[in-house]
């Protein structure tokens, strides 16, 4: 039901998430933000079981901020991703595993942009593009077909729009709007919410 997507360019990462917060068959909220700001240049996109998502994401968020307070500098995106994965893995075989699927997107001064895919079994993969949810089945092939590592920002947004149009066309569920953000060396930028098709 929920959908996350990330596309990495040569000096930016573009991420988008749907805005629906659902409970059974009812949309409780149409403008729900599924992105959590871990630091000035790192975003964590989190979907999954009710309650687990917010609790886990806030836990990671606070710990990343605590690291900065203790040490005076921030965790890099790669370090944050591995920290997140380790936490997921530690809880996986406990009595309270977190059923969450994540995308972590960030920009590092030294390594550049990075997009990390994590799932509820605590897999971690750095990828040029990634998606979560049923919508991923429909859109990963579009990304495979049209993605190039040297995408410009406009081309990345167009590629994202292609994916969202496909969802609107073929996905059985209505996902009317998406929050879109871009991370580059200047930080996190909000882009216009993408409404695709008739609202």
């Amino acid at each position: 039901m929920e959908y996350l997507i990330g596309i990495q360019g040569p000096d930016f990462v573009l991420v988008a998430a749907d805005n629906v917060a659902a409970s059974s068959i009812i949309q409780m909220k149409h403008d729900y933000d599924k992105m959590f700001k871990l630091s000035e240049k790192i975003l964590l996109l989190c979907v999954g079981e009710a309650g687990d998502t917010v609790q886990f994401a806030e836990y990671i968020q606070k710990n990343v901020q605590l690291y900065k307070m203790r040490n005076g500098y921030e965790l890099s995106p790669a370090a944050a991703a591995n920290f997140t994965r380790k936490n997921l893995a530690d809880y996986l075989r406990s009595r309270t595993p977190y059923h969450v699927n994540l995308l972590l997107a960030g920009y590092d001064e030294a390594d550049g942009p990075g997009l990390y895919y994590m799932d509820y079994l605590s897999a971690l993969a750095k990828a040029p593009f990634a998606a979560h949810g049923y919508g991923a089945f429909l859109t990963l092939s579009i990304l495979d077909r049209h993605y190039r590592p040297d995408l410009t920002r406009e081309e990345a947004v167009d590629l994202l729009k292609k994916c969202l149009e496909e969802l609107n066309k073929r996905f059985i569920l209505n996902l009317p709007s998406f929050t879109v953000r871009l991370i580059d060396k200047d930080g996190i930028h909000d882009m216009e919410k993408l409404p695709v098709g008739p609202k």
Partner: protein, 269 residues
């Protein structure tokens, strides 16, 4: 904060965040607000979001035999609830108070297990009072709902059944949060909870505007609950209406659904 640590010490220990508390044998067949656990309850169909698990059955679950709703508008928050309690298909009571007065400026609604709702909201009232004493200012609606959500999250999966809306007025204006025992906590302008919620959504969605007058907003809330009780077997009794404004909440009215029916029918004619 697990229940045991909340009751034991005032300075809640955040370090042992995932201490599994002693789970009482939860009797799921409470004569509460119709969490229909009766074996022959045919109205039990549930759809599981994110079918990543391996559940072979997919059912739509209309939980919590009740209808409660709340919405924000320019003059505050309207809270409207029905008053029927069911145990399976037996109507246990038609005069249940489903709005819980947490403190003079915060209200909570009740859907799901009656004991769960009233107990946890009473505990929330205690935590809100402690906050007030420590910080010398009223607790915000966001913080109160977060306290409640964190408390019940500890018991996730252990059979708590609670779908509540925390409504109040704080320095940011009217506040409305939906919190449930699954772990959801969502801020919004309009929520309806319970088996009759879909019917209520239909009426409120088509009539809600930000610039309603107090009278119009009360009528809308009343009408929505009435329509839900008309269609949903598990909702009925009376419509209890509250309004939250900048000075706190006030009880607006209590009207029997049958009287409302007669009134609306005569207006149609």
């Amino acid at each position: 904060m697990a229940l045991s640590s909340v009751l034991r010490s005032e300075s809640a220990d955040f370090a042992d965040s995932f201490n599994q508390p002693f789970a009482h044998g939860c009797g799921l067949k409470q004569a509460g607000l119709g969490f229909g656990e009766a074996v022959d309850d045919s109205l039990n169909f549930a759809v599981k979001p994110l079918g990543e698990g391996d559940e072979p059955e997919r059912k739509i679950e209309f939980l919590h035999g009740t209808t409660t709703l709340a919405f924000k508008f320019q003059h505050g928050v309207i809270v409207a609830v029905d008053s029927r309690a069911t145990a399976g298909s037996y109507i246990a009571s038609q005069t249940v108070k489903k709005v819980i007065e947490i403190n003079p400026y915060l209200l909570g609604t009740m859907a799901g297990g009656a004991a769960d709702c009233s107990f946890w909201e009473r505990l929330l009232a205690r935590q809100c009072r402690i906050y007030e004493l420590r910080n010398k200012e009223r607790i915000s609606v966001a913080a109160a709902s977060k306290l409640l959500a964190n408390m019940v999250y500890q018991y996730k999966g252990m059979g708590l059944s609670m779908g509540t809306m925390v409504c109040g007025w704080d320095k940011r204006g009217p506040g409305l949060y939906y919190v449930d025992s699954e772990g959801n906590r969502v801020c919004g302008d309009l929520f309806a909870v319970g088996s009759g919620s879909m019917y209520a959504y239909g009426v409120v969605d088509s009539g809600l505007r930000h610039d309603l007058t107090v009278e119009e907003a009360c009528d809308l809330g009343r009408r929505a609950i009435y329509q839900a009780t008309y269609r949903d077997a598990y909702s009925g009794g009376q419509v209890n209406l509250y309004r939250v404004h900048s000075d706190g909440w006030e009880r607006v009215s209590q009207e029997d659904v049958l009287q409302l029916h007669i009134k609306y029918e005569s207006e149609k004619a």
